[in-house]
């Protein structure tokens, strides 16, 4: 086996174990539990530390071999105080990487500082959780569609430590029903159903090392996001928009040879056991407008469930993911602002989770971008673990100076990093109105421009014939309009006359009727005077040649109508004065009446015709 060789080399490297003991600490009891059920390796060790020296010790060193340290994604040391497991994440010890002198090469040291220190004879129990990614190696590295995925895990059976370990146990948890090809058998090793137990080992000197290798089956999805970009955009109108761009790969054993859809369709769990077809994203509650798409469009294979605690998005990539296959997609969703944005001391802060909502996903490179609204100031960030931080500017709709973007970058991210981080900033609520105002003013100026254009005379040459013709035509139109107005007024006077006749037949008030006629007569005369200038203008203007005959006809007809109406009026009034019978009047008026209505019709038609010209 190829990996054996490397282990041996490593053993050579740390062969001189005679280096001086770094401190007087002794680990009286160590329980190591290795969890191999998923693609990440979680090793949690419960350490009982005793100080056998004389001095106060304030730091505890943890050693991890270099080849493992480069896969280390997460390390946390939590004290266990008293009885039970009343531990909380907030009380974890600060951990940092150190390079103590005179240490064997090939090891990376992490120093856990104990804030209270450890007196002489004092003891302390703490839990150390380490999470490694990409540590499980597929073996064989390439499998065909029908094969199961086999993995190799290698570690030391003894707890690697610069301190003396008095008793130590190790248990390795494997996926349930997993087939175990082989595992290293030491003195007291027990292979249980889905667990392998080593130990207890007694009185191990510092830097004890015994390699173990476990070769087992694991068809757990090996979903690795080579890059994940999360964009969190805050809109103070009440929405937090999250867009996540995934670049996913199946990092397990590479598939080789044919992919047969027929086989996969017939028995997906046998012919395609190592493939995964769907992923689950646990989104925050009240997530809305969820979408799932990629560069070439929407992907329809997804389902969304939601209750008051969470929103669950189950989605399938476009094709089943076999080993080595890649895909990329984008998930987007909106969240209510009030769930994530809070205010303290005049500052607003966003409280948002750092990692991906997809469980059991290893992210090689995670970039979180927080897009703050335009006009945010005094920006500061607090993240519970070290990240690379930078700032940039992005432009969205109607931005003038751009929105500040906080960029947080971290490599090797696992589920344990799903912790909340905070972005503090100041933002005045008035700035919210900037964009609507911009839009409104934009439209306003558009309309103003239109009005100006309509009213301004933009012709270049004021003396060109077409321009002059246009001016003349406008004048003609004005004149025609005036004539029309006058005629209309005449017509309304006629209506009045008719009305007076109507009154007459009802009341018999001859005098009133006469008075009406008189006033109407004078009015009509005035109006005909008014007509004259416009008409003479039309006659003189060459542009009006087309319209002039109609206008003249109109005026003539109107005059005729006037005469006839007057005649009718006077006839009726006269005869009513003479107290003639209704029938007689009617007989006398009938021909006149007919003519009047015909003329009136003609006048109106002419008006319409002129209108249309």
């Amino acid at each position: 086996m190829g990996f054996r060789l490397r282990l041996d080399l490593f053993l050579v490297a740390i062969v001189f174990l005679s280096s001086p003991v770094l401190s007087d600490l002794v680990l009286s009891k160590v329980d190591r539990r290795v969890d191999l059920t998923s693609q990440v390796v979680r090793i949690s060790s419960t350490l009982k530390v005793e100080n056998e020296g004389h001095d106060l010790v304030s730091e505890l060193l943890l050693a991890i071999p270099d080849h493992q340290a480069k896969h280390l994604a997460y390390l946390v040391a939590v004290p266990i105080e008293g009885k039970g497991k009343a531990k909380s994440a907030g009380s974890s010890f600060p951990v940092q990487i150190v390079h103590p002198e005179e240490i064997p090469p090939g090891l990376t040291f992490y120093s856990v500082s104990l804030p209270k220190g450890l007196d002489k004879g004092g003891s302390l129990t703490l839990d150390v959780l380490t999470v490694f990614t990409h540590m499980l190696q597929p073996f064989p590295e390439k499998i065909s569609q029908a094969d199961f995925q086999l993995l190799v895990f290698q570690d030391t059976a003894y707890f690697l430590s610069p301190y003396v370990v008095k008793t130590q146990t190790l248990s390795v948890k494997l996926p349930s029903n997993a087939r175990v090809e082989s595992y290293t058998k030491l003195a007291n090793t027990k292979g249980l159903d889905s667990e392998i137990r080593y130990g207890p080992f007694e009185n191990l000197p510092p830097f004890s090392y015994t390699p173990i290798v476990i070769h087992y089956e694991n068809n757990h999805p090996f979903a690795v996001a080579q890059e994940l970009v999360r964009e969190v955009e805050i809109s103070h109108w009440g929405n937090v928009q999250v867009i996540e761009h995934y670049n996913l790969v199946h990092a397990g054993a590479e598939s080789q040879g044919e992919f047969s859809r027929l086989d996969y369709q017939a028995r997906p769990h046998v012919r395609g056991a190592s493939a995964f077809r769907h992923l689950v994203a646990k989104l925050p509650p009240r997530a809305h407008s969820v979408y799932y798409r990629d560069e070439i469009g929407n992907i329809s294979t997804s389902h969304l469930w939601g209750d008051s605690k969470k929103t669950e998005l189950v989605f399938e990539p476009r094709y089943p993911m076999f080993g080595g296959w890649r895909t990329s997609f984008t998930i987007g969703y909106g969240l209510p602002l009030k769930d994530f944005l809070f205010e303290t001391e005049g500052k607003r802060f966003l409280n948002f989770s750092f990692g991906s909502p997809i469980g059991e996903l290893v992210i090689d490179k995670l970039i979180v971008k927080v897009v703050l609204p335009e006009g945010s100031r005094d920006i500061s960030v607090s993240v519970p673990f070290p990240v690379k931080q930078s700032e940039e500017i992005t432009f969205s709709h109607l931005d003038i100076v751009g929105r500040p973007v906080i960029v947080l970058e971290k490599t090797n991210v696992v589920q344990e990093h799903n912790q909340y981080f905070q972005v503090y900033y100041r933002f005045s609520s008035l700035s919210m109105l900037r964009e609507p105002f911009l839009l409104i003013s934009g439209f306003f100026f558009l309309f103003v421009a239109c009005i100006v254009y309509m009213h301004a005379d933009l012709s270049i040459s004021k003396s060109s014939t077409s321009y002059l013709a246009k001016l003349q035509w406008e004048e003609v139109q004005v004149a025609v309009q005036q004539i029309q107005n006058v005629i209309n007024r005449c017509l309304s006077i006629h209506d009045k006359l008719e009305a007076s006749l109507h009154d007459l037949s009802r009341t018999g008030d001859v005098q009133a009727c006469k008075a009406t006629r008189k006033s109407a007569d004078s009015l009509l005369k005035e109006l005909s005077k008014e007509l004259k200038p416009s008409l003479s203008f039309l006659q003189s203007s060459p542009q009006a040649a087309q319209i002039l005959p109609k206008v003249e006809e109109l005026i003539a007809k109107e005059k005729e109508l006037q005469e006839k109406l007057m005649l009718k009026h006077s006839t009726i009034v006269d005869s009513s004065e003479k107290k003639s019978g209704g029938r007689e009047i009617e007989n006398r008026v009938a021909p006149l009446q007919q003519k009047v209505s015909a003329l009136r019709q003609e006048v109106e038609d002419l008006l319409d015709v002129i209108d249309e010209i």
Partner: protein
Amino acid sequence: IRNGGKSDSVNGHKSGSNQSPSLKSDLISPTMFNLKTLKLKTKQQELLIRVTILCLVYVLAFITRLFSVLRYESMIHEFDPCFNYRTTLFLTQKGFYGFWNWFDSESWYPLGRIIGDTLYPGLMVTAALMYWTLRFLRFAVHIREVCVLGAPFFASNTTLVAYFFGKEIGDLGFRGRPCGSCTDSDLPWLHLEIRSYDNEGVAIFALLLTFYLFVKAVNTGSLAWALASAFGYFYMVSAWGGYVFIINLVPLYVMVLLITGRYSMRLYVAYNCMYVLGMLLAMQIRFVGFQHVQSGEHMAAMGVFFLLQVFYFLDWVKHMLSDTKLFQAFLRITVTTAVVVGVVALGALQLGISHHGRAASTLLLDPTYAKDHIPIIASVSEHQPTAWSSFMFDFHSLLFLFPAGLYFCFKRLSDATIFLVMYGLTSMYFAGVMVRLILVATPAVCLISAIAVSATIKNLTRLVRAKNKVPSTGSSKGASSTKSSSKASLDQSLPFQRNGAIALLVGAFYLLSKYATHCTWVTSEAYSSPSIVLAARGAYGNRVIFYDYREAYFWLRQNTPPDAKVMSWWDYGYQITAMGNRTVIVDNNTWNNTHIATVGRAMSSYEDEAYEIMRSLDVDYVLVVFGGVTGYSSDDINKFLWMVRIGGGVFPVIKEPDYLVNGEYRVDKGAAPKMLNCLMYKLSYYRFGELMTEYGKPPGYDRARGVEIGNKDVKLEYLEEVFTTSNWIVRIYKVKPPNNRW
């Protein structure tokens, strides 16, 4: 909804006219002042109604094209639009010069394609300009949205131009309501299939714009309008190869005007300016270049140009020589010399320039040409002659309104209507020859039908109005008994005129409303289903959507080496490059027939022969489309005969009869042996024989063709299956590397 707009407009007119009499009867008591203001208002009302309707039409023309966006997604999904989108993306990223000089190595491997020289850039530049403008205005849009919504936007603009065109014609010929004609014309607009991001979307707009501006120029004789129409023409040339239609129709129109004796200075100015400037501008497009003065398609325009000069010259000479006899002598001499010179010049042209008229254009003049000579053009469904049913489907009631409109045009003959008539007739002919050109015919058909409708409605409403007036005038009279007599005098001639008119009006509205619903249905059902997403009815009547194409393209994009070369039939070329981002051997720009024939040959050869061809083309993956599982009928097996024909056209080794049995194309047991063992058959049916597709049928039952396949034991030696989509529609095979020699 559309119909609402229409009836609105007519109601508007009617109410306008109805109001005045009723007002008069009411206004016995109120002041005269009131009357005057109200009278003014009716005029404003008309303007208001017109503008509102125009806005509504604009919006509606836009939103009816959003069916596919709403029903599916905002996505580019057709074949050609994929390419357009890809080039637009490139243009926005690399800038105009980068685009102009782009050598695309991802298509036509190993030849490549010079993009700047071989495409009409109008669409891409338009989209990019829109994109940059929006960006400048601080709208952070994605170029994809611009492309998807650009087509509806241009459709709306087209409607607007059509309105102005109709107005231009209407103002002269009829004093018909431009408003009515506009609303009418927008109805048919619905089925302009410019729903997706394609050249035609911009081109139809440009086409109509050019025509409108040209007609305007002819009507006014203004140099400015002629200039504008030259620019419209330039835009059209930059957008679509269909500009040839303009450059032939316009001279034809001028010719007709000359023959009918309608030559005028206005025409002279308009045509000269438009032709000379238009030609110079068009030559700036590299894809056109010197073809514009060299190829036979453009000769008519040049001939008419010279003819116009001769006309003008003769006019001038006639003016100078007062003696008619002298003039006739002069005419005789000049005509003979002109004819001689013309013949000599034509001969020289024929000799000097090898006459290679473009096949697609030749096809227009002789519909049977392609069938006999160029299978690649005949194989495109868009190039098939139009069936009657599709005319009926697309035009619906316009089909019989069209002749009526022509009648009205002839009744009121003017320069503008002559143009419209000629446009209508020629484009109808072309639409009959080629399905795709229905697009070009649509605006003409719409406008002419609109004229028919608006003329009819105008006449009818006049009748109705005339009747309305009489009683109202009568009622305003004091003496009531005279009413009956006056009425009788006006009402002698046609007894049921008014009722008849109303009935006809109702009929017309019914027709239009039917048409509107038909159009909406057509756009929503027939023209809004993207070809990349297949929709089917499931067993329980539910809608099943197959995303197989994109599944395959995305698989290619993600899981093949970036420089992999994919061989497929040319239909899928644009999509593979745009969505799969991989190099293809042939694509929808069918410029190299031999290359396509090589692919056709590979597909129709035995596997070992095909392997040699694929090795020589450096092919890594082969993609076939197969509908046997889903019953998707436009798959590669059904296209296969075209591959054989096109392959056989260049390589005589491939003979069509080898794949047929007694002239019949089959895939079952009775199929020809060569058919059962050719590459395409093997790739399509690989391991299909083991699959149960339908209950009660033997395994290997091909649902697209309804037969059990003939060769169930397909073994592949040189290729291996690497991916098949979930419904087996796309199958991808990898070409194995050659075996070691020892």
